[in-house]
Symmetry: C2
Subunit: 296 residues, 2 copies
């Protein structure tokens, strides 16, 4: 059942991305080809799906919110395109295909990432029928602050620093900083964006915040466990790479068993918050389980 | 007199940038050092000054608008930091100092640029006392659309394409596309941002738009002429580089005399629009003259 719900929401996100990204014949064509290549090459679309689920749990009709919600995927994709660059993680494979800079060159990898981030804020600022401008501005600000130098980018910087000092004593605090910021904050902001655009406030918004932050950390622990266990074919990206690069991961710092225990606790916290939100269309708890039990 | 006005407005912009950029001891420290290095290393601050001038001409008190206006300088700086990267223009010198990636490394050059762009949208979305959220959202959208893949980034892509095909017949249309987008659109959006936040609409906003677009193109023609004529010491960046890289420039395509004639016509159009706006504090025309007659 949750599979059908996810498939349908994912299809709505794909449609929105495809319909709103500039066409490949818009000049200069090459950057629009690169943007579309990066975004439309598959992906689980977890951030927009979380935003949709939060908006539906808060009682909104989701159709008018799809453009700002799809912007979350532009932001996620920009972060992948830049992280994959030679000067950063230097990765050739992503979502089962060659990375953007491998296909279009390094300059276009940088500029396509920049363009996706910019496009995201353009989508987030387009007028939405039925949503007050104050709320929209608040939602946009929540997203911007989640991905700034103290948020997602800060997590990436801390990750690079940890990799550079590989061999030093791994610090659980440093690892938590990386995870909370690099992955957790945008996932949390996705949930909040959906809630805020749907008009949620007070206790409902607070429950969404707890749900999002628990799930954000859980998501990254799952990622770390999968990187250790799965093959590249299943993941669609280079597996075992974190360990090979000496990156801090949950299993490498606390051990696999402790990582699994923390994951279970985070899932429980997410499900509890999901249930506290109520609502007639609320599939936040099944999504949390889906994310924590995924195999890729 | 205009010198005093510009000096005072520039000081307000510097103060705002310094007070609102994250402190260098905010973790992760290195990215905040890189962001501050890039932004606070001098610069004419022309985009924020244009926004201030537009807001004042439209009758606003400028103090509450300084944070979103200073965001324009973050955007301009991000574009310089990324353009200077080895994969793009590969420049070592900017504003008379080593470029950001030379000092902090290529990874941090990419991430600091990303962080400045993101921070800009954060500043643009902070609540402004006395400004309606609708207007603020409109102003933010004008800026986002000016710097997207069909705007500033598109201009940079077209510029790279022109450089790659050096030796081919230079096309005035291609050059105009580059100039209008790479420099012109953000300058135009800066004027509009000031006007929109100040509450301008209708004919006044249309006059500001003409002023901004004329000045945007004029600015780039001056840049091209200076690159050809001036020394690196005066410019604070590598001079003669455009010609050496086979970049399209106005003088190289139409000749120096025709470039000067077009510049004079654009200045006249800007001054005419500036005067049409009226207002009790209107120094848009002197700024236009200052920009067109600058020597660095």
């Amino acid at each position: 059942m949750i599979d059908d719900v996810l498939r349908e929401r994912r299809a709505a996100v794909e449609r929105t991305l495809d319909a709103n990204l500039p066409a490949t014949d818009t000049p200069p064509a090459v950057i629009h080809e690169a943007m579309r290549y990066a975004v439309l090459g598959g992906g689980k679309r977890i951030r927009p799906i979380l935003a949709i689920a939060a908006a539906e749990a808060a009682g909104a009709s989701v159709e008018p919110l799809l453009v700002p919600i799809a912007a979350l995927e532009l932001i996620h994709t920009y972060s992948l395109v830049h992280d994959d660059l030679p000067a950063l993680d230097d990765d050739d494979l992503r979502r089962g295909r060659k990375t953007t800079h491998v296909v279009f060159g390094e300059a276009m990898g940088i500029l396509a990432g920049d363009a996706l981030l910019t496009e995201a804020f353009s989508w987030l600022s387009r007028p939405i029928p039925g949503v007050a401008a104050e709320r929209q501005l608040q939602a946009l600000r929540v997203v911007a602050e989640a991905i700034d130098s103290k948020g997602m980018i800060g997590g990436q910087v801390a990750d690079l620093e940890a990799t550079d000092s590989a061999g030093a004593q791994p610090s659980l605090n440093h690892l938590r900083f990386i995870h909370r910021n690099k992955t957790g904050k945008l996932l949390g902001a996705s949930v909040l964006l959906g809630g805020i655009l749907a008009g949620a406030s007070g206790e409902k918004l607070a429950a969404l915040e707890t749900y999002g932050s628990s799930l954000g950390l859980a998501f990254q622990i799952v990622d770390d466990l999968l990187d250790q266990e799965e093959s590249s074919a299943t993941l669609g990206k280079t597996a075992g790479k974190d360990a090979a690069q000496g990156k801090l991961t949950y299993p490498s710092v606390v051990g696999v068993e402790a990582a699994r225990t923390e994951l279970a606790a985070l899932l429980e916290a997410a499900v509890r918050s999901a249930n506290a939100i109520g609502g007639s269309v609320n599939y936040l708890a099944p999504i949390a389980r889906f994310i924590c039990e995924r195999r890729s």
